[in-house]
């Protein structure tokens, strides 16, 4: 976490930098079926994040020695585009960060997809962050759940994801970029919709156990709101069909 906590004022007159209250999510727009060639796809605009996800499979497992006769192999590639931030053009290709995030995102969906129904196959989840403003991993999970549903891949439950944390000594839902960079702690969570299990759990910064108890409740409430938005986006797709153009 930042060692310059005091440098940036995150709470001014009881409001966050972008005017939100502690429990408020940034504006979110979700679209399903945005990549006609993919088996399933979705796009999410979440605050300043723009993330697109394509799903392929179940399909033949490549390389063959990755295949399992017992279940489908889930593969996930999370990538940040070199133009995703206001800073300089960053290196393209996998970074240490993107390798870790691909792993923890894959581990969310390995719990949810009924992989045992598709032995000897693989299911690919490709996530590309076109524009980033804090909370890309949680927005990625939220949009990937839509793309998997759109691909018709059987899942045990839906999942929604949000980063909660602490900034300016206040517990906050849906950390923005400055809150992520200069806050006191950051805790990305993914929670399954029906049984409220924790599917993604990471945290850095400092929190007491009492704060964690409180912040879990805040995250659960936010995930319920996200789940409603996800359901609405899926419903819209199946009522109206594919959009003619991609609305970034």
């Amino acid at each position: 976490m930042s060692s310059s906590i005091s440098d940036v004022q995150l709470i001014v007159d009881g409001k966050r930098l972008d005017g939100r209250t502690e429990n408020e999510l940034r504006p979110i727009r979700m679209e399903v079926g945005v990549i006609p060639e993919a088996d399933g796809s979705a796009f999410i605009e979440w605050g300043g994040n723009k993330i697109i996800c394509g799903v392929y499979g179940p399909r033949e497992c490549v390389p063959k020695h990755d295949a399992s006769p017992y279940h489908a192999v889930v593969k996930c590639r999370y990538m940040m585009s070199p133009f995703a931030s206001l800073d300089e053009h960053s290196k393209s290709g996998p970074s240490r960060r993107s390798v870790e995030l691909s792993k923890v995102i894959r581990e969310v969906f390995e719990n949810l997809i009924k992989t045992e129904a598709f032995p000897n196959t693989q299911i690919d989840i490709f996530i590309d962050v076109l524009q980033a403003e804090g909370g890309t991993r949680t927005a990625s999970i939220t949009v990937a759940a839509l793309a998997l549903a759109n691909a018709g891949i059987p899942m045990k439950d839906m999942v929604s994801s949000v980063a909660v944390g602490k900034g300016g000594n206040v517990l906050l839902v849906d950390l923005g970029k400055a809150e992520d960079n200069f806050g006191q702690s950051d805790m990305p969570l993914a929670i399954s919709n029906r049984d409220k299990s924790i599917m993604l759990l990471q945290m850095d910064g400092l929190l007491t156990k009492e704060e964690i108890v409180q912040i879990l409740e805040m995250a659960t409430g936010a995930c319920d709101v996200l789940h409603e938005k996800q359901s609405a986006a899926l419903l819209k797709f199946y009522e109206e069909g594919e959009q003619d153009d991609l609305n970034l």
């Binding site: 060692s3 792993k103 850095d204 400092l206 964690i212 879990l216």
Partner: protein, 265 residues
Amino acid sequence: MGEETRDIILSNIRRDILVDTLAKGSRFDGRAFDQYRPVKVRKGVLDTAEGSALAEVGQTRVLAAVKFDVVKPFSDRPTEGVFVTNAELLPLASPTFEPGPPDENCIELARVVDRTIRSTECVNVKEFYLEPEKVLGLYVDLYVLNHSGNYTDASTLAATAALMNAKIPKYEDGKLIRGEYSGPLNLRGGLPVTCHMIKVGNYWLVDPSRDEELVAETVLSIGNTDTHVCTLQKGKGSLSKDELLSNIDIAFKRGNDLRYILQKD
């Protein structure tokens, strides 16, 4: 029979036997569910590094070395030093480690240990400013020398111990004078450790052995100081909120045991 088929059959058998054993209230090696294997930490095991330590958790051994260099600061933090953690799962340490670029487990290990230490701000990087465009870079290298399960906790122990052991080299005329020191690296606040645990059947096991890790359904690391949680990292599987909260209590208790060992040795 393919390799994976064999592995799955073996791990199913292993899992069933382990769950039977756990149902009787003990683990293969007789430990309680929340008990660590013997933990030993030795500081100052290398002469060439500015700080070093070897941590042993059971037979799992991790070497940590601290080196300082003069580096350029990050442009958004021009007066702060740089803290970097790297990990190597050496191919000699386990039949399952392979040569080649770091895999996701290795990168995850380095990043979890890095966040655990960074979150506590026990290393004050603001003291690493030298002159414009020049700051100290502190590198922690983790070498896993034998993997018999739970390299996460052994790595955090080794890293924290190596930092406790580290001395800052003298800086003169824009260069570090190797072998001469301006003083010890002073750590602030509570010492960071991690408590790594897995779920098998309905049982949560602290400090899993290699046999136990192979059949884990959920994997969780909880970094803590004496007062705060400073990292959480879930690997495979899922857990409930209640499980998380009760595991945090266990992590504080075992974390205090580990901190005692770090201070004593």
